[in-house]
């Protein structure tokens, strides 16, 4: 499929085509009823509540709005609007006609959204419950797996299944394989049976094996779901009386080679296949009541813009392989917000902002672009913004100032706070400092001893916080060469290399999904057994099954 359109991630409930959100006090019901003719690109119909990127963009919007706009919602029931089919997963015809890059981007985004659902349950007191009123197949079951609990209707027909391996010759790549064993603790031999049995398992067996939490007859289905939602509501710490923060439409200006948001800009340099991304610090001191400021609250505004920009560039600008990250502004003001986010972490809204920023940094961590941070005079890489620099693959810092340009400027400093040491953990469960100094406890301790202290280039280099600190005689030339060299390397090898380096330390559910599962899936996607002319994925819908090259690799 040629990428004929630019995907926009901004949407709002009045524009949903596939979902309805119904809020009844502390319980929200999110219902999937896919508009068959509402595919994002032509060429397929979204039958049987199957989804494409467009469907998932709406789901992501719902997840976000529930957290910010509905502090009163403590339990979310996810269910289907069709009879006897909850969701058939990602649309196969869509996958079959998509380019490799599209499939990978699509899977990454859906994975992030499902992680976001788990994040809401774990950190927001907003428990997601999957109410499977019909069969949940493939991605449909994977969506349910992201919920805290799964209730399946026990009608002798409805099943949960992961038919990707037997039917399509690919993996349940949206967390399915991982969550079945790692989250739901299904025994590996049973998981093996499950993932090779196209029709899946129903009622009693599904419960016994741990694939679902309960299987209940239709007549008591609603009661069981309501009971579980009621329990989740009772256990939630979310406030009942708070006023939600409306996620107003993003202010975004698109020009030929520039995208501008209030606190973020991206300048595209197509010749060099890079984009320069600059985050701006706050204009004022933090407000006393962040929630009252709503979507204008600087950390939220920055996060939303960053989130949107990452998604945009990832999906629509595949050839811009290098992202050069900068932060500008007054570091003191950044630090004031940094402190507020920590001090008021108990406030529901501040909590949401913190976790949203965390998730957005994670999005950056799994982005298949080379990330290069540049720290030079005027930098605002301090506290939470310094996380962007630490998320980068390399950090280049100017020692001193640009003598010819602004000899009087203050030399750049890097300032770390607890934000860099645990407030915004990575997918591997570690802070970016812990990941950076994995296995080097002495180095980590040395940095920790200097949290809150402005570090000049020499100190930053000494502490191992930057890749290279150079003075202005060498700096710009060195940077040019670095970026040109980077652009000359194999994009595939870079993607693999970066993904390996970024996640030092232990494995978690998330790192397994983005590393192990996704990497295998992406390999399988391009193998002839899936996407060759006789591959199972390509043949799907032709009435013929895949003819496999039986050689094990």
């Amino acid at each position: 499929m040629e990428r004929a359109l630019t995907v926009t991630f901004a949407t709002s409930p009045d524009r949903y085509r596939h979902w309805t959100l119904h809020v009844d006090g502390a319980v929200a019901t999110v219902t999937l009823r896919v508009d068959e003719h509402g595919g994002l690109v032509p060429g397929y119909e979204l039958k049987m509540n199957s989804y494409d990127l467009g469907v998932d963009i709406e789901l992501y919007d719902i997840v976000q709005r529930l957290r910010f706009e509905h502090p009163e919602v403590k339990a979310v029931v996810l269910t289907g609007g069709l009879e006897r089919m909850f969701c058939a997963g990602a649309n196969i015809r869509m996958l079959a006609q998509s380019t490799h890059a599209w499939k990978v981007n699509f899977c990454k985004f859906t994975n992030e959204t499902r992680n976001g659902i788990e994040d809401a349950t774990e950190h927001s007191g907003q428990t997601w419950i999957a109410a499977l009123n019909g069969t949940a197949a493939g991605g449909g079951y994977e969506l349910a797996l992201a919920c805290d609990q799964i209730v399946l209707v026990d009608d002798g027909s409805s099943a949960v299944s992961l038919p990707e391996v037997p039917l399509l010759g690919v993996l349940p790549g949206t967390g399915g394989l991982t969550r079945v064993v790692d989250k739901r603790h299904v025994r590996k031999d049973r998981a093996d049976l499950f993932a090779t049995k196209a029709e899946g398992f129903r009622g009693r067996t599904a419960v016994e094996w741990g694939l679902v939490d309960a299987a209940v007859p239709r007549h008591s289905f609603d009661d069981e779901v309501a009971r579980r939602a009621g329990e989740a509501v009772a256990a939630s710490t979310r406030p009942s009386d708070a006023k939600g923060v409306v996620l107003t439409p993003l202010e975004r200006k698109d020009e030929a080679d520039a995208i501008t948001y209030p606190y973020l800009s991206a300048r595209i340099d197509r010749a060099n296949r890079l984009v320069e991304i600059t985050v701006s610090g706050p204009a004022d001191a933090p407000p006393a009541d962040p929630a009252a400021q709503g979507a204008e609250y600087w950390p939220l505004a920055v996060t939303r813009a960053l989130d949107d920009l990452i998604l945009h560039l990832r999906t629509n600008e595949l050839e811009l392989g290098i992202w050069v990250l900068r932060a500008v502004g007054d570091p003191e003001r950044v630090l004031a917000y940094d402190a507020q986010l920590r001090e008021q972490a108990g406030d529901w809204f501040v909590n949401e902002v913190r976790h949203y920023y965390k998730r957005t940094l994670k999005r950056l961590d799994v982005t298949s672009r080379s990330l290069i941070a540049v720290i030079d005079p005027g930098t605002a890489f301090a506290g939470l913004l310094a996380e962007l620099a630490l998320a980068a693959d390399r950090q280049y810092m100017l020692e001193g100032v640009y003598e010819d340009r602004d000899a009087d400027a203050a030399p750049a400093t890097l300032l770390l706070t607890p934000s860099n040491d645990g407030d915004y953990p990575m997918g591997n469960g570690l802070s970016r400092l812990e990941s950076r100094f994995w296995g080097n406890d002495g180095d980590l301790a040395a940095v920790r001893a200097r949290l809150g202290e402005p570090l000049d280039a020499a100190a930053a280099q000494e502490l191992g916080l930057v890749t290279l600190a150079l003075d202005d005689i060498d700096f710009e030339e060195e940077l040019r060469i670095v970026l040109e060299e980077r652009a000359s390397l194999s994009p595939d090898a870079l993607t693999g290399m970066e993904a390996n380096h970024r996640f030092a330390g232990p494995e978690t559910l998330e790192t397994k999904i983005f590393g192990r599962l996704t990497a295998w899936q992406n390999w399988i996607f391009i193998r002839p057994n899936a996407s060759g002319p006789d591959g199972a994925l390509r043949r799907y819908g032709t009435g013929r099954k895949g003819d496999y090259d039986v050689e094990r690799v």
Binding site: A198, E199, T542
Partner: protein, 493 residues
């Protein structure tokens, strides 16, 4: 069962080659059940559950015995043995058509290879699914029809109803045999589920929609046996072609019995029409309800309904599964071996009608993707024959009115027409227009009440309810007034 009853009638003595049925066993069969202890035990374990189901959800009207056809062998004539049998002693057995040792796969990628005597692991799940869906429909119709005995228009019709019921029961047995014999523990679990799902049960409905619709009255029963059982006939016809030989042989034998169900539907509607035509002539009015007949427009509405829900049973016009089943050799086309093409269909295409911008349009699609439609077209042509035959009855009565088959897009919930509104004449209309006229096309609750008001049982031998004409002949050369059914309480009458 007595087989030397003088009234067993004209069932001819078996002449062709036949497999002897092992009646010394509890489960009559021609599959050498006695030689397979594991399978025998499994089926004997299932049998009590089946009988329990039959008692609970089988025919509700108590009877002493019924003049039933029982399969005692599969040879040329031995499958049609008639005698009076208490229904719960009916010998539901397992019969497969004779095996052809040289049988080959006739289509798909395995074309030319020997037919399979065992389930290939690769196709296990798909084959089981096909058998389960087929098996699920068999007991469903018994459940749907269980109360009809209370309003039977005659003892003759009552017997036909029960014959249909026991044979649906036997067809369930046939599918259960395959599940037990070839699909291991999972097969046994599926076999149990076949009894646990029940028609119209909110908690555990039957798999296919048309099998959860209530059979409200005898007109609907006749329409059901005509249109919905005919779907079954066509599905069996495709499975008869299967590369999996035991399935093919099972379905081939089932098709012989299915012909009786078609007969009940065809003649049932025909006799209803004959009476309707007679009353219309006699009273010179279409409004014959006051005279005890079913008005023609209501018959048309019943036809519209049953035809359209049966069309849905064929599934989506474009189906990946159907193509996969074909290519893999699991399910062929109707009359596969008589078709003059390559039986692989990789390059074949056909036309598909669909709705776009409020119009019915046509596009060309790969044949492999449209095999459900291929089968459905065969079915529709067959249905049209029946309608022509019925219309002959109207013509013979000197009436100008005619019945017709509605457009294929009418009242559809599955496939390309789902979500659109198409009139019986094939005009695409919007929802308002549909709602305004739906009562002209589909039976309303009032229509069903009107029909129900005529459904008064007639249990006297040789007599018929006023809304239906008697048949020309009886069953198995017996007279129409034969005592086909002995009701349980007839001694009290």
């Amino acid at each position: 069962m007595s087989i030397d009853d003088t009234r067993t009638g004209a069932a001819p003595a078996p002449t062709g080659p036949l497999s002897r049925v092992d009646y010394s066993e509890r489960i009559p069969n021609n599959v050498n059940l006695a030689g397979d202890r594991r399978l025998q035990r499994a089926l004997e374990g299932w049998q009590p559950k089946f009988l329990e189901w039959w008692k609970q959800l089988g025919p509700a009207l108590p009877t002493k015995d019924v003049y039933l056809r029982t399969a005692i062998a599969v040879g040329r004539d031995g499958w049609a043995h008639f005698a009076h049998v208490p229904m719960d002693e009916y010998r539901w057995g397992i019969f497969l058509a004779e095996r052809d040792p040289d049988r080959k796969v006739n289509f798909g990628k395995h074309k030319g290879e020997p037919a399979w005597q065992e389930v290939p692991g690769e196709h296990r799940a798909d084959l089981m699914r096909l058998i389960v869906i087929q098996g699920d429909t068999e007991p469903a119709s018994v459940e749907q029809q269980r109360v009809l005995g209370h309003t039977a228009p005659s003892i003759y019709d009552l017997r036909n109803l029960f014959q249909v019921n026991v044979e649906e029961g036997r067809h369930l047995w046939a599918m259960v045999y395959l599940l037990h014999a070839y699909f291991g523990r999972e097969g046994r679990e599926e076999a149990e589920q076949l009894l646990k799902r029940n028609s119209g049960d909110l908690d555990a409905p039957r798999i296919l929609g048309a099998f959860n619709e209530a059979t409200t009255d005898w007109l609907q029963f006749f329409m059901f046996t005509y249109f919905t059982d005919r779907d079954g006939k066509y599905q069996l016809g495709t499975l008869k072609e299967s590369a999996f030989d035991p399935l093919a042989r099972t379905c081939e034998f089932m098709l012989k019995e299915e012909a009786h169900h078609m007969f009940v539907g065809t003649t049932g509607v025909q006799r209803t029409l004959e009476r309707t035509a007679e009353l219309m002539k006699e009273h010179d009015t279409a409004d014959i309800l006051p005279h005890g007949g079913i008005p023609l427009d209501i018959i048309q509405k019943y036809l519209n309904f049953q035809f359209s829900v049966s069309m849905d049973l064929f599934g989506s016009e474009q189906s990946t599964n159907a193509g996969n089943y074909y290519t893999s050799g699991l399910k062929g086309r109707w009359m596969e071996t008589r078709r003059k093409d390559d039986h692989v269909l990789l390059d074949a295409t056909r036309e598909l009608r669909y709705v776009e911008d409020g119009q019915i349009k046509t596009k060309t699609v790969p044949m492999l993707s449209a095999l459900n439609l291929d089968l459905r077209d065969e079915y529709v042509a067959d249905c049209a024959n029946g309608v022509r035959r019925w219309n002959q009855a109207l013509e013979d009565a000197g009436l100008s009115e005619r019945l017709y088959l509605p457009h294929e897009g009418f009242n559809r919930k599955v496939g390309v027409y789902a979500g659109h509104h198409v009139t019986p004449q094939g005009e695409v209309v919007d929802e308002d227009a549909w709602n305004a006229r739906a009562a002209e096309w589909l039976p309303t609750p009032e229509d069903r009440e009107k029909v129900a008001s005529l459904m008064i049982p007639e249990y006297e031998y040789g007599k018929f309810a006023g809304w239906i004409a008697p048949p020309k002949t009886g069953i198995n050369d017996q007279p129409v007034e034969f005592d086909y059914v002995h009701l349980a309480d007839e001694g009290l009458l």
